[in-house]
């Protein structure tokens, strides 16, 4: 029911929901098999994500945040606890939770840019014409219309990530999953794409679950930030950063200091994925 909310409505405040949260991660414990044996990556994590919100999961490298995203995407089943998406228990992988990965090589090299965006739509039942039209719209949105007929190997890293974002958004997912999508980009491109993503999210009102290890990125992009500790991880804090204001404000500075303290980042440690300062 809540899924039927037309676009362009006000983003709901937390607690302002009718049918439960869009995503409910409920005391989830996650792990995977490696060479020596089973490794627990996520000890116990809980959070909720409401429609229209932008939730950032931040944590040190190897804290299991990507594993968590994979579990939400349906690739991994939790050992304990539950993941509910629109009330469904641990749904299998599907286009309702489109993912943007960190890797540049997530596009199909044998398809053009347009083909990469249109093909998933075809798979999900759109006619050839409708898929192409919608793909063009979303390439317009990510300002890539001029590159529609190129192949991925002819694009820069930043453009590839924008195609991946267009591909995910064109599916009009209930939840957009982003796994450090800007992690491999240079600082300038990363900053540009962060701004771009904010504009696109404003425009489409898509619900976002974004995983990063960059405090700046979390502050720039998020409504709410879930901070994970070292693996096997737990939630060590959840902060609301919606009304923080720009990076020049005192509140922003305080929040950044707080997050740095939580993540035990040395004060002047170079945070290479920084954006605004």
């Amino acid at each position: 029911m809540i899924n039927r909310i037309p676009r362009r409505v006000r983003r709901p405040a937390p607690g302002d929901r009718a049918g439960g949260p869009l995503l409910h991660v409920d005391h989830v414990r996650l792990g995977y098999w490696t060479q020596p044996g089973f490794t627990v990556a996520v000890e116990e994590v809980s959070f909720e994500l409401d429609e229209g919100q932008r939730l950032i999961v931040i944590g040190p490298s190897g804290c299991g945040k990507s594993t968590l995203l994979k579990a939400v995407a349906g690739f991994i089943q939790p050992i304990a606890g539950a993941i509910r998406v629109s009330g469904r228990m641990s749904p299998p992988p599907g286009a309702d939770r489109a993912i943007v990965f960190q890797e540049f090589d997530q596009l199909f090299p044998w398809r053009t840019v347009l083909g990469n965006v249109a093909y998933p739509l075809r798979i999900n039942g759109a006619s050839r014409g409708a898929a192409a039209r919608k793909a063009r719209d979303y390439l317009e949105l990510t300002r890539l219309a001029h590159a529609a007929d190129r192949h991925p190997h002819q694009l820069s890293g930043g453009m590839k990530q924008r195609v991946a974002i267009a591909r995910a958004l064109a599916l009009e997912p209930a939840l957009l999953l982003m796994d450090e999508p800007f992690g491999s980009l240079d600082a300038i491109t990363r900053q540009r794409l962060q701004t771009e993503l904010n504009r696109i999210v404003e425009q489409t009102r898509v619900t976002v679950l974004f995983v990063t290890h960059s405090i700046e990125e979390a502050l720039v992009l998020g409504d709410r930030i879930v901070v994970l500790g070292d693996a096997p991880s737990r939630v060590i804090a959840t902060v609301d950063v919606r009304d923080l204001g720009g990076p020049e404000t005192i509140e922003y500075g305080r929040m950044r200091a707080k997050l740095r303290e939580l993540l035990a980042v040395e004060d002047e440690e170079v945070e290479d994925s920084g954006g605004i300062d």
Binding site: P93, Q106, F108, P109, W110, I123
Partner: protein, 274 residues
């Protein structure tokens, strides 16, 4: 920095005769002419029963293609080859898909390729003759066996080395496991598939000529190997050479064909550098 700059500035020593500076269109005909001349004089010395001269070869080639005595066996051989490689590629694809879907299938494939791939293609000819008799089916079987394993190995390498992120994307956009194979793994494995097909084609080509030579006269129409064998028996040396020329030309044509295929697919998509 300094050193590398100065190295880059040194031009390559010009070749003494400027051979390397001649365009390929001039170089290759000269090489060809020299070799053909050498062939000619050697053939004249050896006598017409042992060696045909280039001119005699060309005459026999022209005659054979004009009256069908050479072209018919060529088409027969090519048809068998295409059928055999087709069957081989199909079986290889099924085996590899099966290997991708289950661990048991993977074990079966690895076991079969380990045992059967090192086997020379012609070696199974006696078994094929026992199984199917002296007919084309036996030849198809031999060619298929010679081509399945190189293709299956190449496909399996392509499938297993496909970037896992692409597979994850495929499942994320809602592809079933079978569609992941056909729509993600298969195109991603295309560079391997093409090189496997090249190897398979070369294996198959050698195998069928050899098998036909062994076969002697059989089937409705003999193939190229058969033609060579006959010509040798009747001491029609120019015909033997004309058949070899045909085989060489077809080899070059197939090379070109595969090159075209690569340029239109994997090179255009940046999956292989040209």
């Amino acid at each position: 920095m300094e050193a590398s700059t100065s190295t880059a500035a040194i031009p390559r020593r010009p070749a003494a005769f400027g051979w390397a500076r001649l365009p390929a269109l001039v170089r290759y005909p000269i090489v060809g002419a020299v070799l053909v001349a050498a062939w000619h004089f050697y053939a004249v010395r050896k006598g017409p029963l042992v060696m045909a001269t280039p001119w005699q070869t060309l005459e026999a080639f022209w005659e054979g293609w004009r009256n069908g005595s050479l072209s018919d066996p060529t088409w027969a051989t090519l048809r068998l080859l295409v059928e055999g490689v087709g069957i081989g590629a199909g079986v290889a694809l099924i085996l590899t898909a099966f290997a991708t879907l289950s661990k048991f299938g993977e074990d079966v494939l690895l076991f079969l390729t380990a045992v059967l791939n090192p086997l020379p293609g012609v070696a199974v000819l006696p078994i094929a003759m026992l199984l199917f008799g002296l007919n084309e089916t036996a030849l198809r079987f031999v060619i298929a066996n010679a081509t399945i394993w190189p293709i299956a190995i190449a496909l399996n390498t392509g499938f297993t080395t496909t970037n896992p992120t692409l597979v994850a994307v495929g499942r994320n956009i809602g592809l079933t496991r079978v569609r992941v194979i056909s729509d993600v793994l298969a195109p991603a494995a295309l560079p391997h598939a093409i090189s496997g097909l090249k190897t398979a084609w070369a294996f198959g080509w050698r195998t069928i000529i050899a098998a036909e030579l062994v076969f002697g006269v059989a089937g409705s129409s003999g193939g190229l190997g058969n033609y060579i064998n006959n010509a040798r028996q009747y001491l029609l040396t120019p015909q033997v050479f004309a058949a070899l020329l045909t085989i060489a030309i077809i080899g070059v044509l197939f090379e070109t064909l595969f090159g075209q295929l690569e340029r239109r697919t994997i090179i255009r998509w940046g999956m292989k550098s040209s």
